[in-house]
Structures are given as structure tokens and as C-alpha cells.
């Protein structure tokens, strides 16, 4: 029997070779899963756990999804910028302020680039940051609770794209603007863009203990488009590099007009020099209006504060702070290798990769070898800073990560492939197709000083024939490559939610042990919490009714409430009394114009209901919590507005 099986596999394998390897240079059947035990490499047996966490941005979903590697299993969606009906984020009365902005309540965004906090250039797993691209914001998410703890809005910015990348010791999270805009915003002709628009690069300091964010300064750069960025590492720590496009400063039909210059720039910013300048009183305070939203874990409540000014810095006033490195051609990715020596500019309209040398850049600066200037900022000579060029023959390089063994991996959007090449010699070692149109790729820790170079995840924009069709819209696809050998091996692909632009990966052993299991009831400082069922009560304040409710398997206290009237605003403040891992309860009220709540053990959340009709209306637990989950329910009696029925409540009568 066994013998036949092998024959079948051999037959099947050779069939794949003829049908499936058209774009494999006819090399071998090395990407045949059957022939190479790839199934084993990604199989995580029931009860076993993945080796890495992967955090993928949601793009237009506005959130962050958590996957396991190598299994590709999705563990969680973390609500960040967008409404999320599963847990009522944005509808829980306490967390609504998280989505406040200077434009009002904005319950959606376009989340692009997650980055995990670092210490000494290595992932420390305390927080993960992610940018809101559309309404410029940066969010900080706790990696113990996997909840969004803080969101800061970025003024003077638009298209917050070259974000949210983090310096070696999480000193700063950067938020660079993709669209330059008038600063301050004003009514002016669009075609007077040139020289009038500004590109703000915001440096947001991170409190080392609590992670709290604050805009330390905004560098007011010429009106280019700042696309992606990367902090220096190791020897180049203290510098930040930003790719630019549209150095033409066109304001219309950019696909042509912003693609005229043969070279755009990588802006090299010495933030340590600017920090010193600012610490000595430099910079200019400018009126601004932006929201700073903070979630407090002990009160389970968010507050939103409007900030009124921001410190701006004119780069010309800080000599030695900013230089331009000419880079072909409309570079997208801007990536620094783990040693900090090489700055890789991926010219998305070119076939080659341009690699700058940090040492040569410093030499050129010291030797004042400039090739003119742009808006007063010195331009270094291309040949003086160039370390080498990767002649790849691919098309449209986008983004590069590193395996920590001297190799780099670059995605090519137009030719849909991942190319592995060697740092220093610039030779291409391997290339593998992706399915299809790959954007960013990710190696766990691959943008830090210490990559965990076991897997590459490629994030594709187009899915087409990879999975069963689901109508015109398909979820995007991620592809997993084993990179432990000389050649990359495609071992798995899996769908992803939203449009993942970038991802951050970290070994599970760095996060799993400190992941929180419950919120402690004895640390619950929510003003409406009831920490003992005896504390349950209903209080009327004018036309507001506040219900202090507790829940535990499998009942609410109280479960019968009378004396509510049409026109009242009824607040359910519900505390989950469980102190057991993974026992949330849900809450939903009939006809409520919000979503359900999901309340974690020890947590308090509030929900609003405005009853419109007299009657006896049920509420229930939405999370199947126990054998008696169906019994976890209650009623609110609603009387006409002019009724004089007294408030009363009960359980078990």
C-alpha cells in the first residue's frame, strides 16, 4: 500500500512539474509541496502553537490583524482606527474618544505600516505602532492586552504614509507626510503649489515607561511627497531616511508630471542634531489643533484632549541636519540594513536598486562635496554616496528586508517577484515569483538590528486564482517563503484581511508569556464599575438612567428593570465579574442604535440605548459563555414618557 502511495506522489509531482512550473525557469519541482515536505513546514498540529506572531496592517480596513507563522492562521483583529462590530469599538461609550480628531469623530482610516518597539535596535515587544494614512494619526497598541492605548493626530500633515517607523530605542516614532499641503492650511490656488506647500516630518517622542506619545518637533521640508522612511541602525543611529517622489512639485496628473526627474531624493535627517537644537530652545511654536487620545487601562476609559500648538523646525536653521541623496527613480522603499551601513532606495520606476553607503555619506558631508541644493538643503553627489547597484532585471522594486546573514530580499511589484541578493557584492542569488503584484514583504525583526531570518512573508495586492472565487472582490493574499536555505522556497499562502501594506513579526516567545489573561476586578477603577453584585443599582439623573450592572456565568444583576420611560437615555454600565482567561460576556439590547459590547473578564463597558416605544424589551449575552448562555438574559420595562412608575430593579424574585 505504502509503495503505491509513493508512486502516486511521484506521478503527481511530475505532473506538477509540467503544468505548474512555467515561470520557474524550468528549474525543478522545488515548489511542489508534495515533493519537498512543505506541508510539514507549515503544519502546526492541533494543540501546538506557532513560532511567530505576524501583525499585518489592514490598509483600508483601518485595523491590525494578528496571524501566526508559519500556519497563516488569523488569531485576532485589533480595532485601531475603524469601527469593529465584533467588540463594539467606537460604540462603547468609553472608547469613542479614541477616534476623535480635529475633524470630529473619524471612525475609519487607512492603516499602513506597523512597527514593533525596540530597545538597542532589537524588538522588545512592548508596543506596536501603526499609522492612519488618511486622517493623519499614529496609534500605539499594547502588546500585553493587544488593545489600542493611544492615538495622536498629526497636524500640518496629509497622507501620513512614511510612518510609523521607530528609532533604535523607541525614542521617536516618525510620521512623514505623503502629500505636501499649505502650512498653515489656507484657501489658495492649487497651481501655486510650488514653493508654497510644505512637507512636515513629525518626530513623536515616546515615553520610555508608559509609551505616551508627544510631538517633539515637526521638520518643515520642501513640498515633495515623502513616501517611506527608515531610521538608522547601529552606526547610523541618530539619522532618519525618507524617500521622496514628486521632487518636480507637480500638482496635476502626477503619474506623468511627477515621473520626469531621473532622480528623486532620499532625505537624510540627523534627528539628534535637531533634538539638541530643540532642547536648547530652538524651533518655532505654531498654533495647531490636533487630538491626543489616551485609553486608561484601569478605568477602561479613553479621554481626548485637543492640543493647541506644535513646535516646528526650519531645516535651514539647523546646519548639518538635513541632506538630500539623489536616488533613481521615484523611490518607494527606504530600508537600512541591520548594520546601519547601507541605505537601500527602491526606485519603483526603475529596474535597479540603488544602495547608498552611510560611511560615504558622512565622508561626503565632511568634505562638503555638494551637487547644488534644493530650497537651501545641500544635495550630495550621487557617485559620492553610492555603495553599489543591484542589477536585478526585475521591474518596480518596492521594499527590502534583511535576514541578518548578509542577505537582502526585495519585492518587485511590476514583475511580481521576490529577489534575494547579497549585501556588499550586490549579486542576485535567487528570485521567486509571487502571486501576484507584491507590495511589502516582512521578515520577523527584518527591519531591526537582529532579524529572525527564517521566513519571508510577501504581501500581495492581487489574488486572482489562488483561492476559490468569492465574486469580484477577493481578500488579498500573503505568501510564505522558507529562507533558511540558499534558495527561497514558497511553502504556503493564505488570505489576509483588508489590504496589508506591511507587517511586523516577532518570535512568539517574546510576547506570549506576557500576554494578559484577565483584567483584575480589584484594579478596576471605572467610575461606573460594580465590583460586587450587591453594588448593582439603577440611578435616574434627569432623563438619563444609569444601570450599574454586573455579569457572571450565566446571569446579569439585575435582570428585571422597571421605571424606564420613552425619551430616556439609558446607559448600561456593565462589569464582567469573571476572573478566568477567555471568558468574556456580551451584551446587546433590542433596537439599540449601536453595536453589541464584548466585555472582558474584570472589565467595565458602557452602552447607550434610547427606547422609543413603551413595552418590555429584552437584552441578552451575545458571547456563548456557558451551558446556560441562552438563559443569560433580562428585560427592561419601558413606560410612556408621562408615566410615574418608580425605578426598580431585581434579580431572582
Amino acid at each position: 500500500m505504502k509503495k503505491y502511495k509513493y508512486q502516486l506522489i511521484a506521478l503527481f509531482g511530475s505532473a506538477l512539474m509540467f503544468t505548474g512550473c512555467g515561470n520557474q525557469n524550468g528549474e525543478s519541482s522545488s515548489n511542489s509541496a508534495l515533493a519537498s515536505n512543505n506541508a510539514e513546514k507549515v503544519y502546526v498540529a492541533p494543540g501546538e502553537q506557532d513560532e511567530f506572531y505576524a501583525f499585518m496592517s489592514g490598509g483600508y480596513s483601518g485595523n491590525l490583524t494578528v496571524y501566526g507563522l508559519p500556519s497563516g492562521r488569523m488569531f485576532k483583529e485589533i480595532p485601531v482606527f475603524s469601527q469593529f462590530a465584533t467588540s463594539g469599538y467606537g460604540y462603547s461609550e468609553e472608547t469613542k474618544p479614541m477616534l476623535n480628531t480635529s475633524f470630529g469623530f473619524v471612525p475609519w482610516d487607512d492603516s499602513h505600516h506597523p512597527d514593533i518597539s525596540q530597545s538597542k535596535g532589537e524588538l522588545d515587544g512592548r508596543w506596536i505602532f501603526i499609522n492612519g494614512n488618511n486622517t493623519p494619526r499614529i496609534a500605539r497598541i499594547s502588546l500585553t492586552t493587544f488593545e489600542t492605548e493611544e492615538i495622536i493626530e498629526i497636524p500640518n500633515s496629509a497622507g501620513n504614509h512614511s510612518s510609523s517607523f521607530i528609532t533604535e530605542n523607541t525614542e521617536y516614532v516618525v510620521a512623514g507626510t505623503r502629500f505636501s499641503v499649505p502650512v498653515p492650511q489656507r484657501d489658495m490656488p492649487i497651481n501655486e503649489y510650488k514653493a508654497n506647500f510644505k512637507g512636515a516630518l513629525s518626530f513623536i517622542s515616546v515615553d520610555p515607561e508608559h509609551g505616551h506619545m508627544d510631538i517633539k518637533f515637526q521638520l518643515m521640508m520642501p513640498g515633495f511627497n515623502y513616501d517611506l522612511s527608515h531610521p538608522g541602525r547601529d552606526k547610523s543611529h541618530g539619522w532618519f531616511f525618507f524617500t521622496t517622489y514628486n521632487t518636480e512639485e507637480a500638482n496635476s496628473l502626477l503619474e506623468v508630471n511627477a515621473s520626469q526627474n531621473d532622480k528623486d531624493f532620499i532625505a537624510a535627517v540627523n534627528w539628534k542634531v535637531i533634538e539638541e537644537y530643540v532642547n536648547n530652545g530652538g524651533g518655532e511654536l505654531m498654533p495647531a489643533n490636533y487630538a491626543h487620545n489616551v485609553y486608561d487601562e484601569s478605568t477602561h476609559t479613553a479621554t481626548s484632549t485637543m492640543k493647541k500648538e506644535v513646535l516646528t523646525v526650519d531645516p535651514l536653521k539647523v546646519p548639518g541636519a538635513v541632506y538630500f541623496l539623489p536616488t533613481p527613480k521615484s523611490p518607494h522603499g527606504c530600508d537600512v540594513d541591520p548594520t546601519g551601513q547601507y541605505i537601500i532606495g527602491n526606485g519603483k520606476l526603475s529596474a535597479d536598486l540603488t544602495v547608498h553607503s552611510f560611511d560615504r555619506m558622512i565622508e561626503a558631508i565632511e568634505g562638503k562635496k555638494f551637487d547644488g541644493e534644493a530650497y537651501g538643503i545641500p544635495i550630495l553627489k550621487f557617485e559620492d554616496v553610492l555603495a553599489g547597484t543591484v542589477k536585478s532585471g526585475g521591474l518596480g522594486p518596492l521594499h527590502t528586508e534583511f535576514d541578518g546573514k548578509g542577505n537582502a530580499y526585495t519585492t518587485f511589484f511590476i514583475s511580481s517577484e521576490v529577489v534575494k541578493w547579497k549585501l556588499g557584492t550586490w549579486e542576485v542569488i535567487d528570485r521567486k515569483p509571487t502571486f501576484y503584484s507584491v507590495g511589502h514583504l516582512m521578515i520577523p525583526g527584518g527591519n531591526s538590528r537582529k532579524p529572525f531570518g527564517k521566513y519571508v512573508v510577501a504581501m500581495n495586492k492581487i489574488t486572482k486564482d489562488r483561492y476559490l472565487p468569492t465574486g469580484p472582490e477577493l481578500e488579498h493574499s500573503a505568501q510564505l517563503y522558507d529562507i533558511t536555505g540558499d534558495k527561497m522556497e514558497l511553502i504556503y499562502d493564505f488570505p489576509t484581511h483588508g489590504e496589508p501594506h506591511y507587517a511586523a513579526g516577532i518570535p512568539a516567545e517574546l510576547l506570549a508569556p506576557k500576554s494578559k489573561k484577565i483584567y483584575r476586578l480589584d484594579e478596576n477603577k471605572h467610575p461606573y464599575a460594580v465590583t460586587s453584585p450587591d453594588g448593582a443599582k439603577v440611578v435616574r439623573e434627569g432623563n438619563e438612567v444609569h444601570i450599574y450592572m454586573s455579569m457572571i456565568r450565566s446571569h446579569f444583576t439585575p435582570d428585571n428593570i422597571e421605571g424606564v420611560k420613552v425619551g430616556d437615555k439609558v446607559y448600561f454600565h456593565i462589569t464582567n465579574h469573571e476572573q478566568d482567561f477567555d471568558v468574556p460576556h456580551g451584551f446587546a439590547m433590542i433596537g439599540q442604535n449601536t453595536s453589541e459590547l464584548l466585555i472582558m473578564p474584570g472589565q467595565t463597558k458602557s452602552s447607550v440605548w434610547e427606547p422609543k416605544k413603551p413595552g418590555v424589551w429584552p437584552f441578552y449575552c451575545t458571547d456563548f459563555c456557558s451551558a446556560l448562555h441562552q438563559e443569560m438574559q433580562g428585560y427592561v420595562r419601558v413606560s410612556p414618557a408621562d408615566s410615574n412608575i418608580e425605578l426598580s430593579w431585581s434579580l431572582g424574585d
Binding site: 476572573q579 456557558s626 446556560l628
Partner: protein
């Protein structure tokens, strides 16, 4: 006799461990509890093995109508046992000291051992009786009333020692550090008696 008396002093002192370490441990494991729930029985009360275990055990037990686990003030045992143990330690040490100075016969060592054994057996008997009551005296309004195959109401008495299957739970009941120290201490007093007996003629009695 001096050597025997030293063992007789050390032995009862080991019982002091009962004030710091649990006497008994009961673990409830099930597939949906990859980290099992457990309770540690100390001489002055029942405590969590991991934080919130008692709360969660009570939460499960209420489905089948078991009472909540007793707080120290709910049972006379938890105030009496520490006094009894303290008394036995003091008595043992006193006997040992008097033996050391030749004021007492080694036979007193056995006397202490026998008294301690009787108290231990009584303690076990009491513990078992409590578990029988706890596991069979169920709330008549219990949410779930389960019957054995022969039609009699199911009871939930944990095993006094060893493993038992209760519904989907594996229940394991074993002595803990405090009990082992007590056992070792009692063995030392037995050894003291033996040494005293062996040397009964060589010393001045």
C-alpha cells in the same frame, strides 16, 4: 540517648512547616482547562493554587449545586488545627528536651508519635467527612441534576487520595509539602524512639 533526643526535638519542629506549606492539594483538570484549577488545603484555610482558582471552581460547582468552598471562618477546623499542631510541636520539643537531660524515658517518644498518629487519623477522617458532605449535600434547586447509571443522584466527592474522574474533570488529590514535612517529622520521632530503645542499657536511663 542524647542523639535520640535531638531527633525527638527536630521531628516535631518539622511540623512548623504546616504553617507555611499546604497540607493537601486537589487539582481539577479538563480539556478546556489547559492550566488546571487547583486548591491548596492549609491547616488554616483553603487557598488558590493559581490566583482566582477558588472563584472559578465555585463558578463551576454552582451548576451542579455544590456549596461555595468554605472560608476559614466557616469551619471550626481552620481555627483549631493551628492550635493543635502548635501544641503538638511544643509537647514534642518538651519531651525531647526532657529526654536530652535524662528526665524522661524514650518511651515518651513513642507516646508522642502515637498521639500524633491518632490526631492525624482523626484529621483525615474529618477531612473525608467534610468532602462527603461537600460533594453530596447538593442544592435541591441545582441547575443540573445528574444521575448515576443506576438512577441514584450523582455525587461529587473528591478522592481523599489519588485520582478520580468526575464528569469531564480529572480530579487528583495528593499530600503537599506540609504533609510530607509532617510525615518526615513523625518518622524522626519514631527513629528517636528506636535509637532510645537500642541504647536503653548503655546510658543512665
Amino acid at each position: 540517648m542524647k542523639k535520640a533526643s535531638i531527633f525527638m526535638i527536630i521531628g516535631p519542629l518539622l511540623l512548623i512547616g504546616l504553617y507555611f506549606f499546604p497540607l493537601w492539594n486537589i487539582i481539577l483538570g479538563a480539556p478546556q482547562y489547559p492550566e488546571p484549577l487547583g486548591m491548596n488545603i492549609h491547616i488554616d484555610g483553603i487557598r488558590d493554587m493559581n490566583e482566582f482558582d477558588l472563584k472559578n471552581i465555585d463558578g463551576l460547582n454552582h451548576y451542579i449545586g455544590m456549596r461555595t468552598l468554605p472560608k476559614p471562618e466557616d469551619m471550626w477546623e481552620f481555627s483549631t488545627f493551628p492550635i493543635v499542631i502548635g501544641g503538638m510541636v511544643a509537647l514534642g520539643v518538651l519531651i525531647g528536651l526532657l529526654g536530652y537531660f535524662g528526665k524522661l524515658s524514650y518511651k515518651w517518644f513513642a507516646g508522642w508519635f502515637i498521639l500524633m498518629s491518632i490526631l492525624g487519623v482523626l484529621g483525615m477522617y474529618d477531612f473525608n467527612a467534610w468532602m462527603v458532605d461537600y460533594g453530596t449535600n447538593l442544592d435541591p434547586h441545582a441547575i443540573m441534576k445528574l444521575a448515576n447509571p443506576d438512577g441514584t443522584p450523582m455525587t461529587y466527592k473528591p478522592p481523599l487520595l489519588g485520582h478520580a474522574k468526575m464528569l469531564n474533570f480529572d480530579v487528583t488529590s495528593l499530600p503537599e509539602t506540609g504533609a510530607w514535612l509532617m510525615f518526615l517529622g513523625m518518622m524522626l520521632t519514631l527513629l528517636a524512639f528506636y535509637l532510645g530503645w537500642k541504647n536503653r542499657n548503655s546510658t543512665t536511663q
